[in-house]
Assembly symmetry: C2
Homo-oligomer: 352 residues x 2
Amino acid sequence: MPDRLPATMRQWVLARRPDGLAVVEDFGLVTVGVPEIDDGQALLRTLYLGVAPVMLRYMTNETSFEKPLEIGDVMIGRGVGRVVASRNPAFRVGEIYQAKLGWREYAVIDDSPYFMAYRMRHTDLALSHGVSSLAMSGFTALVGMREICAAGPGDRVLVSGAAGGVGSQAGFIARALGADPVVGVAGGPDKCRLLTERLGYGAAIDYKNDDVPARLDELFPDGIDVFFDNVGGELLDEVMGRIRRRARIAVCGRISEYLLPVEEYHRHRNLWRIGLLDAKIEGFFIYDFVAGFDEFEDRLAEWIRDGRIEPLEDILEGLEQMPAALISLYEGTNAGVRMVRIDPDAERRPAP
Amino acid sequence: MPDRLPATMRQWVLARRPDGLAVVEDFGLVTVGVPEIDDGQALLRTLYLGVAPVMLRYMTNETSFEKPLEIGDVMIGRGVGRVVASRNPAFRVGEIYQAKLGWREYAVIDDSPYFMAYRMRHTDLALSHGVSSLAMSGFTALVGMREICAAGPGDRVLVSGAAGGVGSQAGFIARALGADPVVGVAGGPDKCRLLTERLGYGAAIDYKNDDVPARLDELFPDGIDVFFDNVGGELLDEVMGRIRRRARIAVCGRISEYLLPVEEYHRHRNLWRIGLLDAKIEGFFIYDFVAGFDEFEDRLAEWIRDGRIEPLEDILEGLEQMPAALISLYEGTNAGVRMVRIDPDAERRPAP
């Protein structure tokens, strides 16, 4: 039974450029007609939308990886949607795609590289995983831990931002790859309890309340082999001061500094130890690994099915929550993969 | 015709621990008997000995990769020698080996990993290459440029310490791999002239006299893809400030800071750009690549034969020059691979 399409839909646009952390007034919610599609295009009903720290930089045009966002443009964002109409044989009605849908209830996409459309194949699992473990946040955790850091048996692993969207999966993945111990860093006792009780971490460090260097010394008496870093700044320096020979550091994010002026970024005193100890620090861009996406989805789906990954999803309800969802990433109030359910019936499967 | 062995030989021992840069009085030249060999051992006539900045750290016991050097111990060092007696079928009289011979005229080695003995196969070329291009300094330049940085066509390459033992070969190798431009950094107009006139560099930056940031901007208007770093400190920071996406930095040495107390090491303000630009910084240990040594020797010998590498060797005469040779590395007075010829007849080939 095809979805019946409404005449109008809502979407969020950039209302003004944020000054520091965005506020709700920087976004505008507008109602427009549901668009028609041309040859080559498909119309998707948005089921879930994700949020990522980088979206704030889209708003300020500080990034070079997206086309500049002008005032009035629809907010850029990735999510999961169901094809409801298609004039492109590559997209079939009923299929589930992850793509750069934008912050809107329906989206027109095509198969050009811009949309980075990826068809999900494990759609018997919750479709919300299409913005968590079976999507870029899960793929990012897997690539950082497995491709960049080659984590495995014998490795002592630390993850920062461990309760966040990527970090909440990096611990499960490190354990699945055989690393031990796997320690997470997060802010506050509640999140730290979450790490050890719910997210598979063997121990947690509370950066807001613990003496972080002392805890690192205690938990890693012989040093650190692998560091998956979502935070940057001083913690990265403390870790470089404790690396073992041939340590690998994957730089995934740097949320501790995104809102600071560049003059206030941390100056690292321990970078010299990378050379001394034949270690490495490496950044990566998940879309450079697009050739591996199918295998990533298969592997992560397998680990979800056998219980080695238990996705923690932090779901807000309704498109109107999008600005709050993004802002919360900077306030550190999210736990797991924060996302917004756009279609209340997102998980309703078609009758067989 | 087998060498006739003398009864005695000379060797350098550690006389006292240096305070900062070593001085001649820290070394002692002693005469001892030429040793007998036991089963499993071979006696080598030392032909050439190399020097490397790390040897100063052996003297102060700041390194963990060598057994601690006690006062009176023979100085640790690698060189090339000819087998003159053997009670091990793996070593045949007349063969040429690179090994950890120590600073002495004759050395007893065996096939244990400690000596890292490597049999040279391209012995029709100058045997001095056994401490330069066909030895660890050449292998290090090749591994850093090819394995760590994957330099190739389209890459804009910078090398620091470009007139030094490794740097004097890294430029040739980058060009042989197709990179362009290939720019070297060295101290003083004479060395900079050497870079462009003799060592294959397309341009040179004189860190003692040039405005280095301005020269980098001029020579790399679109940024840097590959940096082979022998120097560390502020220059590394300037380079991180100018990297392109997916840049690779191989950390080979850090001679600008070896003599400083750790509190005075440079604090890096631009490390965050590694994550931003999906770049990497990586250290490496040449003996982790031992499985590749034969291929490295073949490749570098091929490039010497076809003229793509012209080894620049800076040869002092006689064992007594060893302390001066080492100290000169820190004074920056060497150009090319500094080494000492121990046997005046080193290049004399046996009659056919």
